[in-house]
Symmetry: D2
Subunit: 338 residues, 4 copies
């Protein structure tokens, strides 16, 4: 249920409505907007007595919300959400945000090399994995806390805020301490305990779409995070699984306008995991920006020779720089800047 | 197998190689390029004796082609193919080509109204269905030859060449007579008899990707057309079937760079059928151009009120005009014009 | 629309209702059942005036049919349809029907060898392809009419009625002449011209499900055939396309009870194409019978050595005989015989 | 890598090989078989020096294992694994195992009612959820430890060992304490931290296939559990996500013979989640047994009226009893008993 306040509702009136909601054992989520404040009500099983709230001072109307998701919905908040990262980078505010870096953190030196290169080329955030979810138990699983320290050092030097994945609750607590954005990967999109914990974290969260997640499921997973009080959620499309014989996953760009229509949350696109092929990263990055995404996550590897064998989906710093130049030209067409 | 001629090979030498190929009961396809002529050899079951050809005058080398497709491959023809439509419109030449119009032809009047509107907004080709493949036998199946006459009249008045679908061999013969481009729809992508007949037609063919076609299958279906002698084939991505809960099909834009890499054929994108939703047509059209497609096929309906109920995927002429304006700005980023 | 006649309606009353339907330009399909006769009305665009029919003699009620399919529906005909093949084999009558044979007809000798072997092992119908739909234009496309003559000769000797695929209208006319059942393959499930022609054929039709066909689309394609007057349609599940890494297609056995619930048509399962792997044919055949299918289509190849290289999905006559023995034990569990 | 011991190798020789493996920093997994003992070597990054092991006493050969999975592979252990549950129920031993019960535990009374009913009808294990992974944060998430106590009480009374899902590490520790089998659900199939913890649990684990998991990924997730030392893993197919319009998921029964071919682990099938429809549970259960599964997991609800609204995929105890009767007849066809 959603309690919409009048434009001229006072802070005291809003507090009173919140108190009335809590008095009934529900949870109220006040979401201030430019036009008006709306209060999402969660925790109710079955019907809530709307009349009890409609008569409170400052209330414009009470809307029963039809979809299972509430807090992520544009019905609750009509304006686009803007998520502030690292105190300075705004995601969803009209300026495109580019997250770039290596897939896995391997050493301070290579992390710094890539960080400097992507910063120079125009990236806003540095990505790198300290905890890697790997299909095989025998594959390298990341440096762990050591990797987080390396990322923090790279931030120190370059000023780029850091995005890194957490794969369990214990790891999330470390990521929260060292990084600026907590990433929840596709494989954990329905790891509900992890989502709840991320909802209590003091950092923004990038939530990647699961490999066979519907839009409803994707938004419900975001709802888990918001329902715990963390409204700083950034969605990320990274390809779905199909029968494709020419790309690792099928990047589903139509999800971007679909999200924009029913949710206020910003959304990025990851063409590196979405295609799994180096030569498709630039074309799909351009397409992602043209379709209306708020930014990109791109894998960049400084050593083209090793990248050719190791990272079939990484692009070189030079390719990345050239790509950013192209995106800069497309951005104004959809009212964005880069 | 592929016989590659020397740069300085004479026309007589090429003729002699063709004769030698045919003398063995095979079929030769001479494909002139800017750099050199290559001759695709088809019709051989099993191995062809390469040495017999290597020693002919003017031959540079004989390449056994690994993939099942030959004539559609960049190994056979390194330069992009350019397909001329209606004597004047070039598809694949660097200028984006926009095909627009109603889904089905219903009357001369509405066809003319839409044709004038899309021409004014910048479309290059007029689309409209006279033969409609319908899931239900009880749905309207198109006006048939009467519809083709209407399309021809609309071309007469507007000068726009006409694209229309053929669903069987009898219909293809009519389409060939009245229209400028024969469209083979997704449901007929593996209707091999129809493909063979299209390969003997005197018109270019737009071949749409089947709903669950791999890239290999898509190119093999094009190969059917080329193998009969019609090299004027334009591919078209129109979405694949997935579990998506927010668009009718999943538009698979990564197929565009994938096609460009291994084939010389031009490729369009149809965001109307690809998404099935009016509000996603413009975003996905921009994305299609940004990813590198050679043009678009878009459903435009002049009557927004009826369109709202009838054609959930049609956009209005005004939306179309605004879209063309956006595409005009994106085109130069990828070295195209509009 | 559906006109349901009273149990005691006379033949004359039924004729009168048919005449009244046709007088309005519609088409009537009288479908006699054990309990009552129902008359499906097709050809109406928009609403039919129900009251005009409700008042005719012998009419019990007039039911507007909600789904797009009508004639294939159990609402029209509650009893299971039984299709008679070759004058003697009943499909859908409680006795399981096994169709077996080679994928392609290559010579009289091998066709006879396999025909004798599968007959001895208990097959009821002989399958073999004279017209092969091939992904590549350079692959063997079948012997054509010569292949049909070979199949007819094999029937002559073994007494097994013959099932063979038609891929276009011209071929269908030949198949109709030589064979006992016309097969429409998965790639042509939405080749509506071919379906219409099959609807006017004097032979039963086996309609295979398309690789990404929903149940609604599958039944609508059957409806095309019935709507032209041919009610002898047998459905066949042969696997759908998914991301599977261990079978060529994913055999979707749940479609069998789903079809049984909403349609009166019989349904077979083809585990050879459905899995594409020899070692999965027997397990999935058992599962198909256990789930309630009316029979099977199985590829059998008499030469295990060549089969090993040529037909990764063919089983040997010995494997087939052993399989039939297993099916014989499962049949009674679901009230069938073999 | 795999070290295969001679048939006559002594226990001391095996210990020595294990010690040699560990001396190099690797981990050895001795897997005794009826014929021979094999020792899987994990923890090696890159090549292991085979010659160093080949010369040890009792070693027959050293096999480099090509697939990423090792311990789950039939190359490591040729005999079928048998998992003992609750001290008495053997999974994979030739006797089919039926797991039945309600989806969620709601009260002691209803749990006991269902437990008694399924026991009477022939179930071997009781299922019921105390921790429910729910798409929505506002849905009932299970009774938690209270639910586990109820399940333990039901086991006390009926003697049926208990299977219940763990959705996070904290919950797994409780499940390990109260239940007989730990279930890892489809959404957590790639929750690698949870898999590792399950690998250190003292209970057998049922691992459900993820909704878009390939066979390779499914087996690799099992490998995570075995690699930590818990070899008591039972796989479970529960349907994959496709475009199906008639069942919630598409039950992929071909995975059963595929698993049997390359792995020694037992595999169950869950037709309740696999179809999501009550009327498809019995047909697909019969098919699952006919295809060769080692057993079933079925949702049974004692109150048909409430079940009709609440649990569209639950069957009643009467339907369950009748189903068990059918399975009893199919079992001997594939050499099983029930």
């Amino acid at each position: 249920m959603l309690v919409v306040m009048r434009k001229d509702a006072t802070a005291a009136e809003i507090r009173d409505v919140m108190a009335a909601i809590e008095a009934r054992g529900y949870k109220g989520h006040a979401i201030p907007g430019a036009q008006r404040t709306a209060i999402g009500v969660t925790g109710n099983r079955g019907a809530v007595e709307a009349p009890a709230f409609e008569s409170l001072a400052g209330v414009l109307e009470v809307i029963p919300v039809s979809h299972a998701y509430k807090l992520v919905s544009r019905e609750v908040k009509t304006e686009d959400s803007v998520v502030t990262v690292g105190g300075s980078v705004l995601v969803g505010a009209g300026q495109l945000v580019v997250v770039a870096g290596r897939c896995a953190v391997e050493s301070l030196e290579q992390t710094l090399t890539v960080a400097r290169a992507v910063k120079k080329a125009g990236a806003h955030l540095l990505r790198g994995g300290a905890f890697k979810p790997r299909t095989s138990p025998y594959s390298f699983q990341g440096l762990g806390e050591e990797g987080l320290k390396i990322l923090a050092a790279a931030r120190e030097e370059t000023g780029l805020p850091v995005v890194t994945e957490a794969v369990d609750i214990e790891g999330l607590e470390l990521v929260e301490r060292y990084a600026d954005v907590i990433q929840i990967g596709a494989r954990n999109m329905q790891n509900f305990s992890l989502l709840r914990r991320a909802g209590r974290a003091k950092r923004p969260v990038i939530l990647k779409r699961g490999m066979s997640a519907t839009l409803e499921e994707f938004l419900m997973s975001a709802e888990y995070i918001l329902s715990e009080g963390n409204y700083d959620v950034i969605l990320c499309e990274r390809g779905v699984r199909t029968f494709s014989d020419f790309s690792r996953n099928t990047l589903d760009l139509a999800v971007v306008p679909a999200v924009k229509k029913i949710s206020h949350l910003p959304i990025l696109v990851d063409p590196s995991h979405g295609t799994g092929r180096r030569d498709k990263v630039a074309p799909l990055s351009r397409a992602a920006i043209a379709v209306g995404a708020d930014g990109l996550m791109v894998e960049v590897h400084h050593d083209p020779d090793r990248a050719l064998s190791d990272g079939p989906q990484s692009i070189t710093p030079a390719m990345f720089e050239s790509l950013v130049g192209e995106l800069r030209q497309i951005a104004p067409v959809i009212g964005r800047t880069l």
